[in-house]
């Protein structure tokens, strides 16, 4: 066991730092640090900058065009790119459907879709949740009926993140209505740019528009767009969610938000001194940093143990990561004090001057705090994750 970074690891960290500092467009970096809203082109520009450098798929094996990095390198990349102000990598292709296709799809399907994910030539979105099927995902009702020409899909999906930009959706549908809920589900790849697909925005607590409702009305899907085998979609869905949960820990984001918190605490004055000199605030910052250290080591330990599939530890990571993200947002709000009172959603749109009497971060602090409440709900609520942990440790 050697628990410290090697010379090569340190050199790699420096390489990532340098790359982000040079390749990340300044306007994107500014938006990220001010918590302003990113648009689709901001994400695409960053992905393409990475791909130009051969880093388009940091988490993929070399055979699919990835970097082939080990777990530690992936972690270093995530932390350093977030700290440098880079947007998150869009998870829909790279960490959600991509790995599923690598494991379960035909070589033709892999060849057709995987290479295009590195430069976001296709924008992917997730078709999992439905209005009546959230935590109880297996109760989903969207159905695909077979016709000579292919499937015809009808139903409604919801919480489709960034679906407003999507070209393709990986979608769970019911292909056998008579089977047990988990048995009759298949995974289809649906072209979003066709008649019958309607995307409507859902406005969230922060006034933003990240999530959508998607209506599918007589949407035609050729048989070649079936992932793997019919009625085995639940297996693929669970495989994907296991990946989502480790990625969802958001270690890079935690480090970046910690940095923002520290910057604010050094700058905002409390009783004539920087807020980080206030012992009540200082303790809270120290404690959250301790939480982040534990999260980082937990990620490394889980990643090092490649013998296990997504087990209880994946759920632990999801729970801890989401709680830390929420705490960071709360502390940023607290440290801003009076400056965090003003808020209008429009102030976070690109091109707007951020309004804030006294501070340019003002409008973002409350919006971000409200928005971060989603982290203990999406990707399997904390309650669902705890049930997963309990079932596995109790073996029931």
């Amino acid at each position: 066991m050697d628990l410290n970074l090697t010379q090569e690891d340190i050199a790699f960290r420096e390489e990532v730092r340098q790359f982000v500092a040079n390749a990340l467009p300044q306007d994107i970096k500014d938006k990220v640090f001010k918590h302003q809203r990113l648009d689709n082109n901001d994400y695409i520009r960053w992905h393409r900058a990475l791909d130009d450098h051969g880093w388009g798929a940091p988490s993929w094996p070399v055979e699919f065009g990835g970097t082939g990095w080990n777990a530690l390198q992936k972690l270093i990349f995530e932390i350093e790119s977030f700290k440098g102000g880079a947007p998150r990598l869009l998870p829909f292709g790279l960490s959600m459907i991509g790995p599923v296709l690598m494991k379960y799809a035909s070589p033709e399907m892999q060849q057709r879709f995987l290479p295009r994910m590195l430069r976001i030539e296709d924008w992917w979105c997730q078709g999992y949740s439905e209005p009546g099927s959230g935590s109880d995902l297996a109760s989903l009702k969207t159905r695909a009926e077979k016709t000579p020409e292919g499937y015809v899909v009808n139903g409604q999906k919801t919480w489709t993140t960034l679906g407003q930009y999507a070209d393709w959706m990986f979608c769970l549908v019911r292909t056998d209505p008579d089977a047990k809920p988990q048995r009759g589900i298949s995974m289809l790849l649906i072209d979003m740019r066709q008649p019958g697909v309607t995307v409507r925005p859902i406005k969230t607590l922060d006034g933003g528009h990240d999530v959508n409702e998607v209506w599918l009305e007589d949407v035609k899907v050729p048989y070649e767009n079936l992932v793997g085998n019919e009625n085995e979609g639940w297996t693929y869905a669970k495989y994907l969610l296991g990946h989502e949960r480790t990625g969802i820990a958001g270690i890079g984001l935690c480090y970046r938000e910690l940095q923002i918190l520290k910057n604010l605490a050094a700058e905002v004055q409390w009783n004539g001194k920087p807020a980080n000199q206030d012992v009540r605030m200082k303790d809270q910052i120290s404690l959250i940093e301790a939480d982040i250290l534990s999260l980082e080591m937990m990620l490394l330990r889980v990643a090092a143990d490649s013998t296990q599939g997504p087990g209880p530890q994946a759920s632990v990571l999801k729970i801890r990561g989401s709680e830390i993200q929420q705490d960071l947002a709360r502390l940023q709000l607290e440290v801003m004090g009076l400056n965090s009172w003003p808020y209008s959603p429009s102030w976070l749109e690109a091109g707007e001057d951020v309004f804030g009497p006294g501070h340019p971060f003002a409008a973002a602090a409350s919006a971000n705090y409200f928005d971060m409440r989603k982290t203990t709900i999406y990707g399997g609520t904390t309650e669902v994750q705890k049930s997963i942990i309990a079932k596995q440790i109790l073996d029931v």
């Binding site: 949740s129 009546g132 099927s133 959230g134 935590s135 109880d136 109760s139 919801t158 919480w159 859902i202 406005k203 969230t204 607590l205 006034g207 999530v211 905002v268 004055q269 409390w270 009783n271 004539g272 807020a275 206030d278 009540r280 605030m281 607290e334 004090g337 009076l338 400056n339 965090s340 009172w341 003003p342 808020y343 209008s344 309004f355 009497p357 006294g358 409350s366 919006a367 705090y369 409200f370 409440r373 989603k374 203990t376 709900i377 999406y378 609520t381 904390t382 309650e383 705890k386 049930s387």
Partner: protein, 370 residues
């Protein structure tokens, strides 16, 4: 001690409850939020019901009620998130004026506050956090027989709707309170929406010239008045929060009974039942602390009074955060949307922590006690 509402309190709370339910419904509240200006009909409704005259002494056409009445009334207002400037005008500034010795200003304004014709707000906070209310940059000086006020106040609750402000400033290096009409020369108000969908403003005073009579109090008397006003504000705010928590808990109960997952209502899942029970516990803590605040307002021992009011504000804020966050969590994805009123209650409960001294401010007040 007597926990029963008086007949008048009972009647007012009941009629207020009915009006709030009707006129501060989700749809109507949201509609009014779209406008940047105070809705005069809603304001008049509050005046007609007697809400605005509650703290105004009877000789100035008010009801001269004690803090206990604030408790009864502001719970009802909180249930409907009544976000008009009741607390800054009819509670805080009414109290400051009523307790002052400036008879001219009392004559001039108090009955108008009770009738709703005058809206006041308190301009006491400046740009950077300062837990010492008397450590100010805003200054007032005497010049040619007049007072000249200069400084910048921040986060003035409902500044845009106010006709006049009670302003804190340094006068001969001592704290002073002044009454400043909003329309005199040299005042610039920058009004903005707040995180909870209500409004605040920053108010700049640039060499504002005032008559000597504008001086409400200075020195120790000014600090006492300021704290008396803020403390009554805390009583009202704690009651408001307790009412909001009660309502939010109710809509969460309704949701858990309705929403089905895994073939049964969410209400049947023990993990959710326990969170609901925790919310109920915190609601009871908050309501009890609202009573502590109201009792504290009448407490003669100043240290004890401070402990009661600051403790109440802290615990109510903590309970509000827990209940607000839990309500969103129990509503799942739906709790994150702008479509439900859950978010409105959550945001108000969060904002309440920041109003009238946040948790750290009040911990500091407690730290100073024996």
């Amino acid at each position: 001690m007597d926990f029963a509402y008086s007949q008048e309190q009972q009647m007012l709370a009941e009629s207020l409850g009915r009006v709030v339910k009707e006129d501060w419904s989700f749809e109507k509240r949201r509609q009014r939020q779209q406008n940047n200006e105070l809705d005069s009909n809603s304001w008049n409704t509050l005046a007609e019901l007697g809400v605005l005259g509650l703290s105004v002494p009877t000789e100035y056409d008010g009801f001269g009620e004690s803090a206990a009445s604030l408790l009864a009334i502001h719970q009802e207002l909180g249930r409907g998130l009544v976000s008009e400037p009741v607390v800054p005008s009819a509670v805080i500034c009414a109290k400051i004026l009523a307790n002052s010795n400036n008879e001219a200003l009392k004559q001039q304004y108090l009955s108008d506050i009770a009738s709703g014709q005058a809206i006041f707000s308190l301009a006491y906070q400046e740009g950077q956090r300062n837990d010492n209310l008397a450590d100010l940059n805003t200054q007032v000086v005497r010049q040619d027989g007049q007072l000249v006020l200069s400084g910048q106040k921040q986060a003035v609750w409902y500044a845009g709707a106010a006709h006049a402000f009670v302003v804190s400033a340094l006068f001969n290096n001592e704290l002073a309170l002044l009454v400043v009409p909003a329309d005199v020369e040299g005042i610039v108000i920058n009004d903005y929406p707040t995180m909870d969908g209500s409004r605040c403003g920053n108010v700049d005073f640039d060499g504002v010239r005032l008559d000597e009579t504008a001086l409400l109090a200075n020195g120790e008397a000014a600090l006492q008045l300021l704290n008396q006003g803020l403390d009554d504000g805390i009583v009202a705010l704690c009651a408001h929060a307790a009412g909001a928590m009660d309502y939010l808990l109710q809509i969460t109960v309704d949701y858990l009974k309705t929403r089905q997952q895994f073939g049964k209502p969410l209400a049947q899942f023990q993990v959710l039942q326990h969170r609901l029970a925790d919310m109920y516990i915190q609601k009871e803590v908050a309501l009890s602390m609202a009573y502590v605040a109201a009792a504290g307002a009448g407490e003669p021992d100043q240290d004890k009074k401070r402990r009661m009011l600051s403790s109440a504000k802290i615990k109510v804020a903590m309970a509000g955060r827990f209940i607000g966050e839990s309500a969103v969590q129990l509503h799942g994805g739906m709790g994150m949307t702008h479509e439900l009123e859950v978010g409105d209650y959550f945001k108000r409960l969060i904002f309440i922590d920041y109003l009238l001294g946040d948790t750290k401010y009040h911990l500091k007040q407690l730290e100073a006690l024996e």
